[in-house]
Point group: C2
Chain length 346, copies 2
Amino acid sequence: MQEKNKTEIATLGEFGLIKHLTENIELKNPSTRYGIGDDAAVLEYPDRQILVTTDLLMEGVHFDLTYTPLKHLGYKSAMVNLSDIYAMNGTPRQITVSLAISKRFCVEDMEDFYTGLKLACDSHHVDIIGGDTTSSLTGLAISITCIGEADKDKIVYRNGAHETDLICVTGDLGAAYMGLQLLEREKKVFQGQQDINPDFSGKEYLLERQLKPEARRDIIERLHNMDIKPTAMMDISDGLSSELMHICTQSHVGCRIYEERIPLDYQTAVMAEELNMNVITCALNGGEDYELLFTIPITDHEKVAEIENIRIIGHITKPELGTALITRDGQEFELKAQGWNPLQKN
Amino acid sequence: MQEKNKTEIATLGEFGLIKHLTENIELKNPSTRYGIGDDAAVLEYPDRQILVTTDLLMEGVHFDLTYTPLKHLGYKSAMVNLSDIYAMNGTPRQITVSLAISKRFCVEDMEDFYTGLKLACDSHHVDIIGGDTTSSLTGLAISITCIGEADKDKIVYRNGAHETDLICVTGDLGAAYMGLQLLEREKKVFQGQQDINPDFSGKEYLLERQLKPEARRDIIERLHNMDIKPTAMMDISDGLSSELMHICTQSHVGCRIYEERIPLDYQTAVMAEELNMNVITCALNGGEDYELLFTIPITDHEKVAEIENIRIIGHITKPELGTALITRDGQEFELKAQGWNPLQKN
């Protein structure tokens, strides 16, 4: 493998680096009136409501550069924010990107990061409108804020689920978490060795789900075209259990979901088996799926059943019934949000 | 001194901590339709342009917790972002706040941070609408995004300065930098000692400028009331030289500023003397003043001359004349942006 060129960031300086990374950025959205280059960006949304979401990603906590290529990291950093805007039933339009970089990184590393970032933004027609680039004493820190738009009447909050509503999830769950387990396992196996080239064949989907998640614009568009407005919605970043409990708490309702209805990919099941883990636990608590969890009125049942990649996994109940998982053999368990909690005690 | 209570963050967890810190936040602005608690906040600005700015502050690079109380840090973190919105001739309305916290911090630390943050927001009628709270392996990272509004015709960019325009700065310069030098000196003196209680009497202004900067809303309001619209404007965060060069580059003009016109506080001059530094160099390159630098048409000269806390320091020239500082003895030097560059080689 040819060693790539390494240009020290100091040769460009802060302003030089920002200029270098952002000089070819084209603005695509009419709502972006002014992008990078002043004290603030300028936007205009005359007849729409504006959505704002933000994420802070820290090296060693949210990502491990041992096995995460910077291009993928850029892609994923943008995508997880776009996902939050779709989860409000909105359309992402702009992002700001702040990076704190340690001396370990070179200009080409940051180019890779921006390549991934731009790829995600381009495929969702999102403008990069600003940010901050500075230094860090230790790891890489990434902070992205995403701005989107929606019709006032279209925005879907977490608090609108009603009794008898159906609970739907998109895609399949647990694969990103299995991808992470796989990467962590290989990291341990190859620890200290050079020129690592592990064999991931048959497990590509798990890696893709972990390293290159896709925000579900397709589903939002499909629901819109079929005139279905969810009563509550959020994206699944911390795990199905945790998110479902957010919806139930904020909507003052309970829920029943069915183990056999939880969508799983074949590779997820195989990997869980291999690691001696319960695949349902992984699907419930794994996190980083970036699928959508939403509720719809029961009257929309037939319309939703037609849509590919949406699975009805249960229904909303009275709050007294709590949040329940019904297993294949008919037992009832209370859902727990074990969700991914980086502030938890070890 | 009584040791304050220390509650481990793990006892609350991520969601608990966010809830604890944000539960008493009241939304003050009609443009804030929905704040903390969903995938994204919801804003509405029907007839206005929207300004977006963001900053990422890293422990050890942007702040030193040895001498920066967390309450002040919260205050300053918000204020530096508000300053960017005022520098566009806008009004800040909302901020999102993301924090990455290491195990070293307790709940009470974060309360202190939020106390300062809220104080800054309250005094500028700004809503805290969201953010992210997560963990960090090492230091504290703070990312704030500020959203503001402005009339389309009122926004002032960096690129509008014209030949013969007058160059104005607010307040005085170099004091925040002197405050930093003072704190760094005392830190070295007291290194390793417990119960530090250095004597800062007579230097309070320098500390205040470093630890509790104020964004210049007063000036923006005053200019508005007197019907003066600057042709170019930015806030002074990296130092007067650096900012003036941004305005000149983006406006395709040159400038002449006069040493004797640069506003200095008495304490700044005394401290520079004490540290054997050139006070003008500190004022030109110190940074963190968060004063406003702007240009006005020469026809507004008399109006501006009436306003307290604004000093005319020079004028805009043809681009061929470069960016010049005229010293007290009439010598001409080219301005250099030594500005604060954290990515610079040591």
